[in-house]
Protein backbone atom coordinates (compact mmCIF):
# COMPACT_ATOMS: atom_id res chain seq x y z
CA UNK A 1 0.00 0.00 0.00
CA UNK A 2 1.57 3.27 -1.09
CA UNK A 3 0.04 6.65 -1.79
CA UNK A 4 2.91 7.81 -4.08
CA UNK A 5 1.85 11.12 -5.67
CA UNK A 6 -1.75 11.09 -4.50
CA UNK A 7 -3.06 14.58 -3.69
CA UNK A 8 -5.11 15.32 -0.58
CA UNK A 9 -7.61 18.17 -0.10
CA UNK A 10 -6.24 18.84 3.37
CA UNK A 11 -2.79 19.04 5.00
CA UNK A 12 -0.90 15.79 5.29
CA UNK A 13 2.49 15.04 6.82
CA UNK A 14 4.52 12.93 4.41
CA UNK A 15 7.91 11.37 5.00
CA UNK A 16 8.86 12.69 1.57
CA UNK A 17 9.07 16.33 2.48
CA UNK A 18 8.28 17.71 -0.97
CA UNK A 19 4.90 15.98 -0.72
CA UNK A 20 4.25 17.19 2.81
CA UNK A 21 1.95 20.15 3.51
CA UNK A 22 3.19 20.79 7.02
CA UNK A 23 5.75 23.53 7.48
CA UNK A 24 9.14 22.37 8.63
CA UNK A 25 7.87 19.19 10.23
CA UNK A 26 9.32 15.74 9.71
CA UNK A 27 7.93 12.24 9.67
CA UNK A 28 10.20 9.20 9.87
CA UNK A 29 9.19 5.57 9.57
CA UNK A 30 11.90 3.49 11.16
CA UNK A 31 12.60 -0.12 11.99
CA UNK A 32 15.50 -2.54 12.05
CA UNK A 33 15.42 -5.73 10.01
CA UNK A 34 16.37 -9.23 10.95
CA UNK A 35 15.47 -12.68 9.78
CA UNK A 36 15.69 -16.33 10.64
CA UNK A 37 14.94 -19.43 8.57
CA UNK A 38 11.19 -18.85 8.68
CA UNK A 39 10.52 -15.15 9.29
CA UNK A 40 11.39 -11.65 8.29
CA UNK A 41 11.43 -9.71 11.52
CA UNK A 42 10.92 -5.98 11.88
CA UNK A 43 12.09 -4.60 15.22
CA UNK A 44 11.59 -1.32 17.04
CA UNK A 45 9.00 -0.11 14.58
CA UNK A 46 7.91 3.46 14.95
CA UNK A 47 6.46 6.40 13.13
CA UNK A 48 8.43 9.27 14.59
CA UNK A 49 7.68 12.96 14.15
CA UNK A 50 8.53 16.36 15.53
CA UNK A 51 4.96 17.52 14.89
CA UNK A 52 3.59 18.46 18.30
CA UNK A 53 0.10 18.67 16.77
CA UNK A 54 0.13 15.11 15.41
CA UNK A 55 1.54 13.77 18.67
CA UNK A 56 -1.27 15.46 20.58
CA UNK A 57 -3.92 14.01 18.30
CA UNK A 58 -2.39 10.60 18.91
CA UNK A 59 -2.20 11.09 22.69
CA UNK A 60 -5.89 12.14 22.68
CA UNK A 61 -6.85 8.94 20.86
CA UNK A 62 -8.00 10.83 17.75
CA UNK A 63 -5.24 9.34 15.60
CA UNK A 64 -3.82 5.84 15.33
CA UNK A 65 -1.04 4.42 13.19
CA UNK A 66 -0.76 1.25 11.14
CA UNK A 67 2.19 -0.50 9.54
CA UNK A 68 1.02 -2.27 6.36
CA UNK A 69 2.93 -5.16 4.78
CA UNK A 70 1.81 -6.00 1.27
CA UNK A 71 3.02 -8.56 -1.24
CA UNK A 72 0.97 -8.37 -4.41
CA UNK A 73 2.32 -11.59 -5.98
CA UNK A 74 1.22 -13.68 -3.00
CA UNK A 75 -2.12 -11.88 -2.43
CA UNK A 76 -0.83 -10.97 1.03
CA UNK A 77 -1.73 -7.80 2.89
CA UNK A 78 -1.67 -7.37 6.66
CA UNK A 79 -1.75 -4.36 8.94
CA UNK A 80 -0.18 -4.02 12.38
CA UNK A 81 -0.94 -1.30 14.88
CA UNK A 82 2.12 0.77 15.75
CA UNK A 83 2.81 3.82 17.86
CA UNK A 84 3.70 7.35 17.03
CA UNK A 85 7.07 8.10 18.64
CA UNK A 86 7.02 5.04 20.91
CA UNK A 87 8.37 1.98 19.07
CA UNK A 88 6.68 -1.39 19.15
CA UNK A 89 9.10 -4.28 19.64
CA UNK A 90 8.48 -6.71 16.81
CA UNK A 91 6.51 -7.70 13.74
CA UNK A 92 7.14 -11.13 12.23
CA UNK A 93 6.27 -11.98 8.64
CA UNK A 94 6.40 -15.60 7.54
CA UNK A 95 8.76 -16.01 4.59
CA UNK A 96 6.42 -18.61 3.12
CA UNK A 97 3.81 -15.88 2.70
CA UNK A 98 5.99 -13.75 0.44
CA UNK A 99 7.02 -13.95 -3.21
CA UNK A 100 9.54 -11.46 -4.58
CA UNK A 101 8.71 -7.80 -3.90
CA UNK A 102 6.91 -6.75 -0.73
CA UNK A 103 6.31 -3.27 0.62
CA UNK A 104 6.38 -2.12 4.26
CA UNK A 105 4.65 1.25 4.74
CA UNK A 106 3.05 3.20 7.57
CA UNK A 107 0.17 5.61 7.95
CA UNK A 108 -1.54 7.65 10.64
CA UNK A 109 -5.33 7.98 10.34
CA UNK A 110 -8.26 9.60 12.13
CA UNK A 111 -10.17 7.32 14.47
CA UNK A 112 -13.34 9.41 14.20
CA UNK A 113 -14.73 12.35 12.21
CA UNK A 114 -12.56 15.21 13.43
CA UNK A 115 -11.61 18.75 12.57
CA UNK A 116 -8.00 19.83 12.25
CA UNK A 117 -6.41 23.23 12.33
CA UNK A 118 -2.81 24.07 13.18
CA UNK A 119 -0.03 26.63 12.83
CA UNK A 120 2.15 23.69 11.81
CA UNK A 121 0.42 23.59 8.41
CA UNK A 122 1.93 25.20 5.35
CA UNK A 123 1.10 28.85 4.74
CA UNK A 124 -1.69 27.97 2.30
CA UNK A 125 -3.47 25.89 4.93
CA UNK A 126 -2.89 28.00 8.04
CA UNK A 127 -5.94 29.44 9.70
CA UNK A 128 -8.31 27.01 7.94
CA UNK A 129 -10.29 24.30 9.70
CA UNK A 130 -10.49 21.00 7.77
CA UNK A 131 -13.09 18.29 8.33
CA UNK A 132 -11.51 14.85 8.25
CA UNK A 133 -13.57 11.70 7.84
CA UNK A 134 -13.04 8.73 10.11
CA UNK A 135 -10.10 6.72 8.70
CA UNK A 136 -8.80 9.79 6.84
CA UNK A 137 -5.04 9.59 6.28
CA UNK A 138 -3.18 12.32 8.19
CA UNK A 139 0.43 11.14 7.87
CA UNK A 140 2.05 8.82 5.35
CA UNK A 141 5.27 6.96 4.74
CA UNK A 142 5.41 4.88 1.57
CA UNK A 143 8.15 3.02 3.37
CA UNK A 144 10.42 0.49 1.78
CA UNK A 145 10.33 -2.16 -0.89
CA UNK A 146 12.03 -5.41 -0.03
CA UNK A 147 12.57 -8.66 -1.86
CA UNK A 148 11.88 -12.06 -0.47
CA UNK A 149 14.36 -14.43 -2.00
CA UNK A 150 13.58 -18.04 -1.97
CA UNK A 151 16.30 -20.49 -2.89
CA UNK A 152 14.30 -23.18 -4.64
CA UNK A 153 17.34 -25.36 -4.97
CA UNK A 154 16.68 -26.58 -1.43
CA UNK A 155 13.37 -28.03 -2.63
CA UNK A 156 14.78 -29.72 -5.71
CA UNK A 157 17.55 -31.86 -6.97
CA UNK A 158 20.08 -29.55 -8.58
CA UNK A 159 19.05 -28.31 -11.97
CA UNK A 160 20.69 -26.40 -14.75
CA UNK A 161 20.29 -22.65 -15.12
CA UNK A 162 19.85 -23.26 -18.84
CA UNK A 163 16.73 -24.33 -20.71
CA UNK A 164 17.17 -25.62 -24.25
CA UNK A 165 13.81 -25.40 -25.98
CA UNK A 166 12.47 -25.60 -29.51
CA UNK A 167 10.39 -22.96 -31.19
CA UNK A 168 8.30 -24.66 -33.84
CA UNK A 169 7.53 -21.32 -35.47
CA UNK A 170 11.19 -20.57 -36.12
CA UNK A 171 12.27 -21.24 -39.69
CA UNK A 172 14.61 -24.14 -40.31
CA UNK A 173 18.27 -23.04 -40.39
CA UNK A 174 17.37 -19.85 -38.50
CA UNK A 175 19.79 -18.66 -35.86
CA UNK A 176 19.30 -19.66 -32.24
CA UNK A 177 18.15 -17.03 -29.75
CA UNK A 178 19.09 -16.42 -26.14
CA UNK A 179 16.41 -15.12 -23.78
CA UNK A 180 17.08 -14.18 -20.15
CA UNK A 181 13.92 -15.11 -18.26
CA UNK A 182 13.55 -14.62 -14.53
CA UNK A 183 14.29 -18.30 -13.79
CA UNK A 184 16.39 -19.61 -16.66
CA UNK A 185 18.79 -18.66 -19.40
CA UNK A 186 16.73 -19.87 -22.35
CA UNK A 187 18.33 -21.05 -25.55
CA UNK A 188 15.70 -21.24 -28.26
CA UNK A 189 16.47 -23.43 -31.26
CA UNK A 190 14.53 -24.02 -34.46
CA UNK A 191 12.88 -27.44 -34.52
CA UNK A 192 15.48 -29.13 -36.70
CA UNK A 193 18.37 -27.91 -34.55
CA UNK A 194 16.53 -28.98 -31.41
CA UNK A 195 15.99 -32.51 -32.75
CA UNK A 196 19.68 -32.73 -33.68
CA UNK A 197 20.72 -31.38 -30.27
CA UNK A 198 18.67 -34.07 -28.54
CA UNK A 199 20.40 -36.78 -30.53
CA UNK A 200 23.97 -35.62 -29.94
CA UNK A 201 23.45 -34.68 -26.29
CA UNK A 202 23.14 -38.36 -25.41
CA UNK A 203 26.80 -38.80 -26.28
CA UNK A 204 29.06 -37.61 -23.49
CA UNK A 205 31.91 -36.76 -25.86
CA UNK A 206 29.71 -34.41 -27.90
CA UNK A 207 28.17 -32.70 -24.88
CA UNK A 208 31.28 -30.56 -24.41
CA UNK A 209 31.16 -29.49 -28.07
CA UNK A 210 27.61 -28.30 -27.53
CA UNK A 211 28.70 -26.46 -24.38
CA UNK A 212 31.46 -24.70 -26.30
CA UNK A 213 29.27 -23.84 -29.25
CA UNK A 214 26.26 -22.48 -27.45
CA UNK A 215 26.31 -22.45 -23.67
CA UNK A 216 29.48 -20.37 -23.34
CA UNK A 217 27.98 -17.72 -25.60
CA UNK A 218 24.64 -17.77 -23.76
CA UNK A 219 26.39 -17.46 -20.43
CA UNK A 220 28.46 -14.54 -21.76
CA UNK A 221 25.22 -12.75 -22.70
CA UNK A 222 23.86 -13.39 -19.22
CA UNK A 223 27.06 -12.13 -17.56
CA UNK A 224 27.00 -8.99 -19.73
CA UNK A 225 23.50 -8.30 -18.43
CA UNK A 226 24.67 -8.81 -14.86
CA UNK A 227 27.64 -6.48 -15.48
CA UNK A 228 25.24 -3.84 -16.76
CA UNK A 229 23.04 -4.29 -13.69
CA UNK A 230 26.02 -3.97 -11.35
CA UNK A 231 26.16 -0.27 -12.34
CA UNK A 232 23.18 0.42 -10.09
CA UNK A 233 22.35 -2.76 -8.15
CA UNK A 234 24.08 -5.29 -5.92
CA UNK A 235 24.03 -9.03 -6.49
CA UNK A 236 21.01 -9.62 -4.23
CA UNK A 237 18.94 -7.05 -6.13
CA UNK A 238 19.93 -8.62 -9.43
CA UNK A 239 19.12 -12.11 -8.10
CA UNK A 240 15.63 -10.96 -7.16
CA UNK A 241 15.04 -10.25 -10.85
CA UNK A 242 17.09 -13.14 -12.30
CA UNK A 243 17.10 -16.15 -10.01
CA UNK A 244 19.85 -17.93 -11.99
CA UNK A 245 22.29 -15.30 -10.74
CA UNK A 246 22.34 -17.14 -7.39
CA UNK A 247 23.72 -20.27 -9.09
CA UNK A 248 26.34 -18.21 -10.93
CA UNK A 249 27.30 -16.46 -7.70
CA UNK A 250 27.73 -19.76 -5.81
CA UNK A 251 29.69 -21.38 -8.66
CA UNK A 252 31.97 -18.35 -9.03
CA UNK A 253 32.66 -18.10 -5.31
CA UNK A 254 33.47 -21.83 -5.10
CA UNK A 255 35.74 -21.59 -8.12
CA UNK A 256 37.54 -18.33 -7.44
CA UNK A 257 37.40 -18.20 -3.64
CA UNK A 258 36.20 -14.60 -3.62
CA UNK A 259 32.92 -12.68 -3.70
CA UNK A 260 30.97 -12.37 -6.93
CA UNK A 261 30.55 -8.62 -7.42
CA UNK A 262 31.06 -5.77 -9.82
CA UNK A 263 34.83 -6.27 -9.89
CA UNK A 264 34.40 -9.89 -10.99
CA UNK A 265 33.10 -8.71 -14.36
CA UNK A 266 35.31 -5.68 -14.74
CA UNK A 267 35.94 -6.09 -18.46
CA UNK A 268 34.63 -8.02 -21.41
CA UNK A 269 37.65 -10.30 -21.71
CA UNK A 270 37.16 -11.40 -18.11
CA UNK A 271 33.52 -12.23 -18.91
CA UNK A 272 34.62 -14.54 -21.73
CA UNK A 273 37.09 -16.29 -19.41
CA UNK A 274 34.63 -16.58 -16.51
CA UNK A 275 31.91 -18.05 -18.73
CA UNK A 276 34.28 -20.78 -19.88
CA UNK A 277 35.53 -21.49 -16.35
CA UNK A 278 32.01 -21.74 -14.95
CA UNK A 279 31.18 -24.32 -17.62
CA UNK A 280 34.33 -26.30 -16.92
CA UNK A 281 36.43 -25.10 -19.86
CA UNK A 282 34.42 -26.99 -22.50
CA UNK A 283 36.64 -26.00 -25.43
CA UNK A 284 39.57 -27.75 -23.85
CA UNK A 285 37.52 -30.91 -23.24
CA UNK A 286 35.80 -30.92 -26.62
CA UNK A 287 39.09 -30.57 -28.50
CA UNK A 288 40.50 -33.48 -26.51
CA UNK A 289 37.39 -35.55 -27.25
CA UNK A 290 37.52 -34.70 -30.94
CA UNK A 291 41.24 -35.51 -31.13
CA UNK A 292 40.61 -38.79 -29.39
CA UNK A 293 37.93 -39.64 -31.99
CA UNK A 294 40.24 -38.67 -34.82
CA UNK A 295 43.08 -40.81 -33.39
CA UNK A 296 40.79 -43.82 -33.06
CA UNK A 297 39.87 -43.66 -36.74
CA UNK A 298 43.58 -43.44 -37.61
CA UNK A 299 43.02 -40.35 -39.74
CA UNK A 300 45.76 -38.21 -38.22
CA UNK A 301 47.19 -36.52 -41.30
CA UNK A 302 50.61 -37.14 -39.83
CA UNK A 303 53.35 -36.81 -42.38
Amino acid sequence: MQIKNRLFPYPILNEEQHKSTYYNKLLQFEYTEDDDDDYYILRDIQLDTNSVYLKKLFADGLVKALCIVECSRSVYRKSFEIGIVTPIPEIKIAKNDLIDKFVVSAFAYATANIEIKSDEFDEDYKGITFSIDKYGILAASDGYSNYSQRDERKDNVSSSIFSIIPNKDQAAESAYKVNLSDRKIEIILNEEDFDNYEKIYRFESYKEIFFSMILVHALEIALMKVKQKFDSEDVDDIASEYKWVLSIKDAYENLEGKDFDKDSLSDESSICVIAQKLLGNPLNKSLKNLLSSVNKTGDTNDE
Binding site: M1, R6, F8, P9, Y10, K64, L66, I68, E70, S72, R73, S74, V75, Y76, R77, K78, S79, A94, N96, D97, L98, I99, D100, F107, Y109, D133, K134, Y135, G136, I137, R150, D155, N156, S159, S163, I164, I165, P166, N167, K168, D169, S181, R183, K184, E186, I188, E198
Partner: protein, 248 residues
Protein backbone atom coordinates in the same frame (compact mmCIF):
# COMPACT_ATOMS: atom_id res chain seq x y z
CA UNK B 1 -1.01 -38.52 0.30
CA UNK B 2 1.48 -37.70 -2.40
CA UNK B 3 4.06 -35.04 -3.00
CA UNK B 4 3.09 -32.02 -5.04
CA UNK B 5 4.89 -31.15 -8.23
CA UNK B 6 5.70 -28.11 -10.25
CA UNK B 7 5.96 -27.98 -14.01
CA UNK B 8 9.71 -27.65 -14.64
CA UNK B 9 11.09 -24.30 -15.73
CA UNK B 10 12.31 -25.78 -19.00
CA UNK B 11 8.86 -27.14 -19.80
CA UNK B 12 7.30 -23.78 -18.87
CA UNK B 13 9.65 -22.05 -21.31
CA UNK B 14 8.88 -24.69 -23.93
CA UNK B 15 5.15 -24.17 -23.51
CA UNK B 16 5.29 -20.38 -23.57
CA UNK B 17 7.40 -20.42 -26.72
CA UNK B 18 5.04 -22.89 -28.43
CA UNK B 19 1.58 -21.88 -27.27
CA UNK B 20 -0.14 -22.65 -30.56
CA UNK B 21 1.05 -26.26 -30.59
CA UNK B 22 0.42 -26.70 -26.89
CA UNK B 23 -3.14 -25.40 -27.20
CA UNK B 24 -3.88 -27.68 -30.13
CA UNK B 25 -2.56 -30.73 -28.25
CA UNK B 26 -4.97 -30.04 -25.40
CA UNK B 27 -7.87 -29.46 -27.78
CA UNK B 28 -7.11 -32.72 -29.64
CA UNK B 29 -6.60 -34.93 -26.57
CA UNK B 30 -8.89 -35.86 -23.71
CA UNK B 31 -6.07 -37.54 -21.86
CA UNK B 32 -2.58 -36.27 -21.15
CA UNK B 33 -0.57 -39.17 -22.61
CA UNK B 34 0.66 -36.83 -25.36
CA UNK B 35 2.80 -34.94 -22.83
CA UNK B 36 5.64 -37.45 -22.80
CA UNK B 37 5.86 -37.37 -26.59
CA UNK B 38 5.77 -33.59 -26.77
CA UNK B 39 8.29 -32.80 -24.05
CA UNK B 40 11.57 -34.68 -24.01
CA UNK B 41 12.78 -33.03 -20.82
CA UNK B 42 11.43 -33.98 -17.39
CA UNK B 43 8.04 -32.25 -17.29
CA UNK B 44 7.35 -32.19 -13.56
CA UNK B 45 9.60 -31.63 -10.55
CA UNK B 46 8.64 -33.19 -7.29
CA UNK B 47 8.61 -30.96 -4.20
CA UNK B 48 8.81 -31.80 -0.54
CA UNK B 49 5.22 -30.78 0.31
CA UNK B 50 2.41 -33.31 0.15
CA UNK B 51 -1.36 -33.23 -0.29
CA UNK B 52 -4.23 -35.71 -0.07
CA UNK B 53 -5.22 -37.52 -3.22
CA UNK B 54 -8.61 -36.12 -4.24
CA UNK B 55 -10.84 -35.82 -7.30
CA UNK B 56 -12.81 -33.05 -8.89
CA UNK B 57 -16.07 -33.86 -10.65
CA UNK B 58 -16.23 -32.94 -14.32
CA UNK B 59 -18.46 -29.90 -14.80
CA UNK B 60 -18.49 -28.63 -18.40
CA UNK B 61 -18.30 -24.80 -18.48
CA UNK B 62 -19.08 -24.82 -14.73
CA UNK B 63 -22.76 -25.05 -15.63
CA UNK B 64 -23.81 -27.00 -12.55
CA UNK B 65 -23.39 -24.42 -9.81
CA UNK B 66 -23.86 -26.86 -6.94
CA UNK B 67 -21.16 -29.09 -8.37
CA UNK B 68 -19.00 -26.04 -9.00
CA UNK B 69 -19.29 -25.06 -5.35
CA UNK B 70 -18.46 -28.60 -4.26
CA UNK B 71 -15.32 -28.59 -6.42
CA UNK B 72 -14.29 -25.18 -5.07
CA UNK B 73 -14.50 -26.45 -1.48
CA UNK B 74 -12.63 -29.65 -2.29
CA UNK B 75 -9.78 -27.73 -3.87
CA UNK B 76 -9.59 -25.37 -0.92
CA UNK B 77 -9.86 -27.98 1.81
CA UNK B 78 -7.16 -30.17 0.27
CA UNK B 79 -4.68 -27.43 -0.63
CA UNK B 80 -5.10 -24.85 2.13
CA UNK B 81 -2.20 -26.09 4.23
CA UNK B 82 0.35 -25.56 1.45
CA UNK B 83 2.68 -22.57 1.83
CA UNK B 84 1.49 -19.43 0.18
CA UNK B 85 4.46 -19.25 -2.20
CA UNK B 86 3.32 -22.61 -3.60
CA UNK B 87 -0.34 -21.56 -3.87
CA UNK B 88 0.62 -18.46 -5.86
CA UNK B 89 2.99 -20.23 -8.25
CA UNK B 90 1.92 -20.68 -11.86
CA UNK B 91 4.01 -23.85 -12.14
CA UNK B 92 2.06 -25.55 -9.32
CA UNK B 93 -1.34 -24.83 -10.83
CA UNK B 94 -0.21 -25.91 -14.31
CA UNK B 95 0.92 -29.22 -12.83
CA UNK B 96 -2.56 -29.74 -11.40
CA UNK B 97 -4.11 -28.81 -14.76
CA UNK B 98 -1.82 -31.02 -16.86
CA UNK B 99 -1.53 -33.94 -14.49
CA UNK B 100 -4.03 -34.50 -11.68
CA UNK B 101 -7.04 -32.68 -13.19
CA UNK B 102 -6.37 -32.69 -16.91
CA UNK B 103 -9.85 -33.61 -18.18
CA UNK B 104 -11.56 -31.49 -15.53
CA UNK B 105 -9.45 -28.47 -16.56
CA UNK B 106 -10.15 -29.07 -20.22
CA UNK B 107 -13.89 -29.22 -19.66
CA UNK B 108 -14.41 -26.54 -17.02
CA UNK B 109 -13.83 -23.76 -19.55
CA UNK B 110 -14.27 -24.02 -23.31
CA UNK B 111 -10.95 -23.53 -25.04
CA UNK B 112 -11.32 -20.67 -27.51
CA UNK B 113 -7.81 -20.59 -28.85
CA UNK B 114 -4.44 -19.63 -27.44
CA UNK B 115 -5.81 -16.88 -25.20
CA UNK B 116 -7.76 -19.39 -23.09
CA UNK B 117 -4.58 -21.35 -22.38
CA UNK B 118 -2.42 -18.27 -21.91
CA UNK B 119 -4.79 -16.50 -19.53
CA UNK B 120 -6.57 -19.36 -17.80
CA UNK B 121 -4.12 -22.27 -17.71
CA UNK B 122 -1.07 -20.02 -17.34
CA UNK B 123 -0.83 -16.68 -15.53
CA UNK B 124 -0.88 -14.70 -18.74
CA UNK B 125 -2.55 -11.73 -17.05
CA UNK B 126 0.37 -11.27 -14.68
CA UNK B 127 1.44 -12.48 -11.25
CA UNK B 128 -1.49 -11.38 -9.09
CA UNK B 129 -4.26 -11.06 -11.65
CA UNK B 130 -3.21 -14.36 -13.18
CA UNK B 131 -4.10 -16.09 -9.89
CA UNK B 132 -7.67 -14.83 -10.20
CA UNK B 133 -7.92 -15.80 -13.87
CA UNK B 134 -6.55 -19.34 -13.52
CA UNK B 135 -9.22 -22.03 -13.92
CA UNK B 136 -8.13 -23.80 -10.75
CA UNK B 137 -6.29 -21.09 -8.82
CA UNK B 138 -9.27 -18.74 -8.93
CA UNK B 139 -11.45 -21.44 -7.39
CA UNK B 140 -9.06 -21.86 -4.50
CA UNK B 141 -8.72 -18.12 -3.90
CA UNK B 142 -12.44 -17.45 -4.22
CA UNK B 143 -12.83 -19.65 -1.15
CA UNK B 144 -9.72 -18.38 0.61
CA UNK B 145 -10.79 -14.74 0.25
CA UNK B 146 -14.44 -15.23 1.23
CA UNK B 147 -14.38 -17.81 4.00
CA UNK B 148 -16.05 -16.53 7.17
CA UNK B 149 -14.56 -18.50 10.05
CA UNK B 150 -16.88 -16.79 12.57
CA UNK B 151 -20.08 -17.92 10.84
CA UNK B 152 -21.94 -21.15 11.50
CA UNK B 153 -21.67 -21.95 7.80
CA UNK B 154 -18.19 -20.64 7.07
CA UNK B 155 -18.74 -20.93 3.32
CA UNK B 156 -21.95 -18.85 3.16
CA UNK B 157 -20.28 -15.96 1.34
CA UNK B 158 -18.31 -18.38 -0.85
CA UNK B 159 -21.54 -20.02 -1.98
CA UNK B 160 -22.97 -16.63 -2.93
CA UNK B 161 -19.86 -15.72 -4.90
CA UNK B 162 -19.52 -19.07 -6.68
CA UNK B 163 -23.16 -19.05 -7.76
CA UNK B 164 -22.47 -15.81 -9.65
CA UNK B 165 -18.74 -15.07 -10.05
CA UNK B 166 -19.22 -11.50 -11.30
CA UNK B 167 -20.04 -10.67 -7.66
CA UNK B 168 -16.35 -11.16 -6.89
CA UNK B 169 -14.51 -10.78 -10.19
CA UNK B 170 -13.90 -7.04 -10.29
CA UNK B 171 -13.29 -6.91 -6.55
CA UNK B 172 -10.55 -9.54 -6.82
CA UNK B 173 -8.58 -7.39 -9.25
CA UNK B 174 -8.20 -4.56 -6.73
CA UNK B 175 -5.10 -4.47 -4.52
CA UNK B 176 -7.16 -3.95 -1.35
CA UNK B 177 -8.84 -7.32 -1.86
CA UNK B 178 -5.71 -8.95 -0.45
CA UNK B 179 -7.03 -7.78 2.94
CA UNK B 180 -9.61 -10.42 3.81
CA UNK B 181 -11.77 -8.51 6.29
CA UNK B 182 -12.37 -5.83 3.63
CA UNK B 183 -13.54 -8.47 1.14
CA UNK B 184 -15.92 -9.98 3.68
CA UNK B 185 -17.30 -6.56 4.60
CA UNK B 186 -17.86 -5.61 0.95
CA UNK B 187 -19.56 -8.90 0.07
CA UNK B 188 -21.80 -8.81 3.15
CA UNK B 189 -22.92 -5.27 2.32
CA UNK B 190 -23.56 -6.17 -1.33
CA UNK B 191 -25.46 -9.34 -0.47
CA UNK B 192 -27.70 -7.60 2.05
CA UNK B 193 -28.52 -4.81 -0.41
CA UNK B 194 -29.24 -7.21 -3.27
CA UNK B 195 -31.54 -9.28 -1.06
CA UNK B 196 -33.39 -6.16 0.10
CA UNK B 197 -33.88 -4.76 -3.40
CA UNK B 198 -34.41 -8.12 -5.09
CA UNK B 199 -32.20 -7.34 -8.07
CA UNK B 200 -28.54 -7.05 -9.03
CA UNK B 201 -26.48 -6.04 -12.02
CA UNK B 202 -22.89 -6.80 -13.02
CA UNK B 203 -22.26 -3.10 -13.37
CA UNK B 204 -23.26 -2.50 -9.75
CA UNK B 205 -20.43 -4.75 -8.56
CA UNK B 206 -17.98 -2.94 -10.82
CA UNK B 207 -19.18 0.40 -9.45
CA UNK B 208 -18.74 -0.77 -5.85
CA UNK B 209 -15.18 -1.95 -6.53
CA UNK B 210 -14.34 1.41 -8.12
CA UNK B 211 -16.06 3.31 -5.31
CA UNK B 212 -13.94 1.60 -2.69
CA UNK B 213 -10.70 1.98 -4.62
CA UNK B 214 -11.05 5.58 -5.73
CA UNK B 215 -13.64 7.33 -3.56
CA UNK B 216 -13.15 5.67 -0.21
CA UNK B 217 -9.54 4.69 -0.82
CA UNK B 218 -8.63 8.13 -2.17
CA UNK B 219 -8.13 9.85 1.18
CA UNK B 220 -8.95 7.22 3.81
CA UNK B 221 -6.90 4.23 4.93
CA UNK B 222 -8.88 1.19 3.77
CA UNK B 223 -6.95 -1.25 5.93
CA UNK B 224 -8.09 0.60 9.06
CA UNK B 225 -11.82 0.11 8.36
CA UNK B 226 -13.57 -2.45 10.49
CA UNK B 227 -15.47 -5.16 8.63
CA UNK B 228 -18.72 -3.79 10.07
CA UNK B 229 -17.96 -0.23 8.91
CA UNK B 230 -17.18 -1.36 5.39
CA UNK B 231 -20.32 -3.48 5.29
CA UNK B 232 -22.53 -0.55 6.22
CA UNK B 233 -20.87 1.83 3.75
CA UNK B 234 -21.13 -0.69 0.92
CA UNK B 235 -24.73 -1.58 1.79
CA UNK B 236 -25.78 2.08 1.60
CA UNK B 237 -23.84 2.65 -1.61
CA UNK B 238 -25.20 -0.51 -3.23
CA UNK B 239 -28.78 0.57 -2.50
CA UNK B 240 -28.00 3.90 -4.12
CA UNK B 241 -26.49 2.23 -7.18
CA UNK B 242 -29.33 -0.27 -7.59
CA UNK B 243 -31.88 2.53 -7.34
CA UNK B 244 -30.18 4.32 -10.23
CA UNK B 245 -32.16 3.37 -13.32
CA UNK B 246 -29.25 4.31 -15.59
CA UNK B 247 -27.10 1.46 -14.20
CA UNK B 248 -27.86 -1.75 -16.13
Amino acid sequence: MSNIKFVSDTTMSHIKNNLKTFTQRIVDNDDNSWLKDEFKEPIFEEKRYSINDFDLKINPDSKDKDLDFENHIKLYENLKDLPRFVLCDERFWLWLELDKFYLYSKKVMTINGISTIKDHWLFGQGGRRGIFFGILSRCFFRVECTIDENAEDKYWLTRWVVSSPERFRNLSWRAFSSERHLVRGVLKGEKRAVEKVGKETTEAYTEIAKFISFDLGGTTLLDAYSEADIEKIVYDKMLEILADETIR
